[in-house]
Symmetry: C2
Subunit: 553 residues, 2 copies
């Protein structure tokens, strides 16, 4: 291998690695580094800390969240290393009197001394419970806060958004992610494609996401393709090979024959359909005779696009191919999809071709979750939604407010107080159990002190609201599940990191254990995350100990 | 250099290249590739096309947009190449009967045959006018659509958002971007830091952005740092070297002395301040004696944080150092900032230290543009804003709707019609001029046919609304500027790509030429983008020619 090939080889390898999202610890907030120095300087570099990563409120006014981003967090720990050039830069932005030994400390820092516990990627999670917690030397973990939050926040947000679209559309619709051009940067787009698939989408338009993550890729043509043709004379060849390879047919003549026939079926005026559009459809069909799906609204969806599509579709059928359907990208999608289906039905009846009635109708005009609910109410004939901007940028709420809070130092609990009860942290290490009812549905999540006995199947356990004294409930679980696993310890990955397709299937299954009323779009019921009596007493004693007593004056 | 070092070297080099955002053409929508094949197959691979990249509506209910992302677009053209492995993947997702010559075509495709015209990065731009247009072989340009849109849309959106925050805060406030943890993926965060700086921010917390783009980085410490200390016994050393290096002082004793003194000035009860917080501030001051800025709201900003800060600040002053100030991250920022300033004033008066009254007050609690306007109305004492989520995710509108439309093929104009007039494209190649008044303010932008004479200084020119016949105005420009430049031709970059700091200064200057009423937050006046009479007639003739005649029934 020559030197240049060598570079090229590594370029490919590394580039896709970077595109896979493996980030370096220098992608952090400066204050993590200044804090690390202050910890180091005050002799706290070996203090053993515990941090919880959690969020305070489900996104999108919903009552559930899909946890995502874990595999990238593990890869981040595996690759945790400040390069020489990173340290050189850090040195340049810290004060000149910063002790040089600190930079050696940074250079030699790895994630080998930290332990990460997490729920599985794709798990349905709720506010206040740790999605992950991490134990180890205080400054090292402090340096991991920002990248871990960055990797979890958007991944979980967009996976949850995708799942909300899936719940809105129902299980039988095809959902395609078309967000690349409007996503927040190139990597924002890649993350969107990956985690929308995890959250229940069926495919993406993003070719690189297909290559990197094995997501099915989909796409046909745009308006520009249609407007680039003006008449059938733009089409290079009249011919198309029949599917069985038996002969070439004069495809243009075949189209013109069907155009005349169909004008009495749909009906339309052959001189009113756009000739450039017909030429574009003919060209596209010649290139993809087995995958003909046409965008019909460049000029007029019903007067021009639909007849032109049906014309070419029938000519393809006569040549042995099965056309796929149409796409609508503007206008009243309910009305237009009904009109298109009616046209398909007429042709199905006239030619006795039942499949023609079932051709695909894809819709893709700036669709959000509410659009789908509204279309469901109005009625529509759409089989497949292509969704971009609103899905990938999570327009309803473009950030998940994940936080990373210190809960313990050297086995002593830590608690951040706040006048806002929502911002008070639950101190110390905790265990979290999901308690299920006899019907298989999750009833409640229960956080306990680590040394408390675990809840037992068939035995009554008291679940308390973490902050409101009077809110308590007894639960007799039919199944008890500790939701966290050790994912990373002593520099080793301890759990399988399943491929995306497997994660997707698992996520869809896990969601079934969450009751419908927690998942509905309008006024969902909150799912309860509770604490044991032991944890309740522990945190409230600590709270009283630390809270200053006010003075009324 | 050993093999392993070699790999490592390239890893660093390539990784930061990828992080610089140089993206490959495979980061595209599949339909660009299927269209390219259909073009190729119907003999249109050498058709000469022109595409305009523009947007239809300013973001955030505003009336201006900052154009950004150009340098990355140029780098994308420079690096435009489908690798062998990309082509292998594309082959695997296209139908098996796709002609193999197409894949050779893809492998050999470069951007050397395309020409890119653009406005300078940082230019203030308006709806409907091309930010860039690109000429060259139809399939090649089609393959550039998605990456170019991805690179321009978010960059321009977030730069515009940053500028709105700058306009809200005024020129004298320090604005810091703190969005990394909530941004849409790692690269979303890097792009945010870069383009927020371009749009008028002063710095970022993002260390990698500092390293890559030379943006000033800022940051001190978090709540976790404070809660990790419980008492002064957690502090490793009592000592601090005086700034002049003359002697070490017993810094803890000095702090305790000032604590007692100050308790009569502010006033506060020394047994009510949190001891862990004091220890944390002492530790931080020992690590950064010249950069002491303390987060004061972990326990109680006024009863604990402020006295603890002032205690340590006075001890630093007595040791020769100047403290920096405080940060507030919760509560009523107007009220708290007044309370803090009042405390600073008391100390300034008591010790005759005028600089103490002017210490920095940084605020960083989930601030958006409206918060700043509201704080301005209420009055506040904040010097510096740290802004995260709302800034980087552009919560008010998380996507710019940039589009890329075909306007010409083989010198013949193309027009996309739509029932929505906003979506009708302005066909053909155009020239765009910005016409200025005698006061230096921009009056109107004027699009003309390429062969029309350019507007002349001092001569009356008719500017027409592109769609509404009756809306016309005569303008006598005091200055005329053609806003586009040739940026890329024959594989060469034709214009300097200035460093980020220079672009930032230029952007701030360019904004001054836009009248205040176009920039205000509430009900801004739309800036007019007009067409010449020649272009008006040209597009309306073409429109009538293509639009189907409706039938009322």
């Amino acid at each position: 291998m020559s030197g240049e090939e060598n570079i090229d080889f590594h370029f490919q390898r590394i580039q896709s690695k970077a595109q896979n999202g493996v980030i370096q610890p220098i992608l952090t907030d400066l204050y993590q580094i200044t804090m690390a120095y202050a910890y180091w300087k005050s002799g706290k570099m070996n203090d053993q800390a515990v941090f919880d990563l959690y969020f305070r409120k489900n996104p999108f006014n919903g009552e559930f969240t899909i946890f995502a981003g874990l595999e990238e967090c593990i890869k981040f720990l595996q690759n945790f290393h400040f390069s020489e050039s990173d340290v050189k830069y850090i040195r340049s932005v810290l004060p000149p009197n910063t002790e040089p030994e600190f930079f050696h400390y940074l250079e030699n820092l790895t994630a080998n001394d930290v332990t990460l516990y997490a729920v599985d990627e794709g798990t349905v999670v709720f506010p206040k419970e740790p999605l992950m917690w991490i134990e180890g030397p205080l400054p090292a973990i402090q340096l991991m806060e920002t990248p871990l939050l960055n990797l979890v926040n958007y991944a979980s947000l967009v996976a949850t958004n995708a799942m909300r679209f899936r719940l809105a559309a129902g299980p039988d619709k095809t959902l395609l992610e078309f967000g690349l051009r409007r996503a927040q940067g190139p990597d924002g787009a890649l993350s969107a494609s990956r985690y929308c698939y995890l959250g229940g989408f069926d495919g993406t338009s993003n070719v690189l996401a297909g290559k990197l993550y094995g997501i099915p890729v989909r796409g046909t043509h745009a308006h520009a393709f249609v407007t680039s043709y003006t008449s059938l004379s733009d089409v290079k060849t009249r011919m198309l090979m029949r599917k069985d390879g038996s002969a070439e047919v004069d495809f243009i003549s075949l189209c013109l024959k069907y155009q005349e026939e169909l004008s009495t079926v749909l009906p339309f005026l052959p001189d009113q359909v756009n000739k450039g559009e017909l030429a574009a459809f003919v060209s596209y069909a010649q290139a993809f005779p087995g995958g003909f799906l046409a965008l019909i609204d460049t000029y007029d969806a019903i007067k021009s696009g639909l007849p032109n599509f049906c014309t070419v579709a029938m000519a393809l059928w006569a040549s042995g191919y099965t056309p796929q359907g149409i796409r609508l990208d503007s206008g009243d999608l309910s009305y237009l999809s009904h009109m298109v289906r009616e046209g398909f039905n007429k042709i199905a009846n006239r030619y006795d071709l039942p499949w023609f009635a079932n051709l695909n109708i894809v819709a893709s005009n700036d669709i959000n979750e509410d659009t789908i609910h509204s279309l469901n109410q109005q009625g529509h004939e759409i089989n497949s939604f292509g969704i971009g901007t609103h899905l990938v940028t999570c327009q309803k709420q473009p950030a998940l407010g994940g936080v990373f809070k210190l809960t313990e130092v050297n086995c002593k609990p830590r608690m951040k107080l706040s006048e806002d009860v929502e911002k008070v942290t639950i101190p110390g290490k905790k265990k979290v159990y999901r308690l299920y009812g006899a019907d298989g549905n999750a009833l409640v999540d229960l956080m306990t002190l680590p040394n408390e006995p675990e809840p037992k199947v068939g035995q009554r356990v008291l679940c308390r609201h973490p902050f409101q004294e009077s809110k308590r409930a007894y639960v007799i679980p039919a199944k008890v599940e500790a939701i966290h696993k050790t994912y990373w310890v002593n520099g080793e990955v301890m759990q399988p990191l399943p491929p995306l397709t497997e994660l997707r299937a698992k996520t869809m299954n896990l969601l079934k254990t969450i009751r419908q009323d927690h998942k509905r779009a309008l006024n969902p019921t909150p799912y309860k995350v509770s604490v044991s009596t032991g944890l309740y007493s522990f945190m409230h004693e600590l709270w009283l100990e630390h809270a200053p007593i006010g003075e009324l004056s």
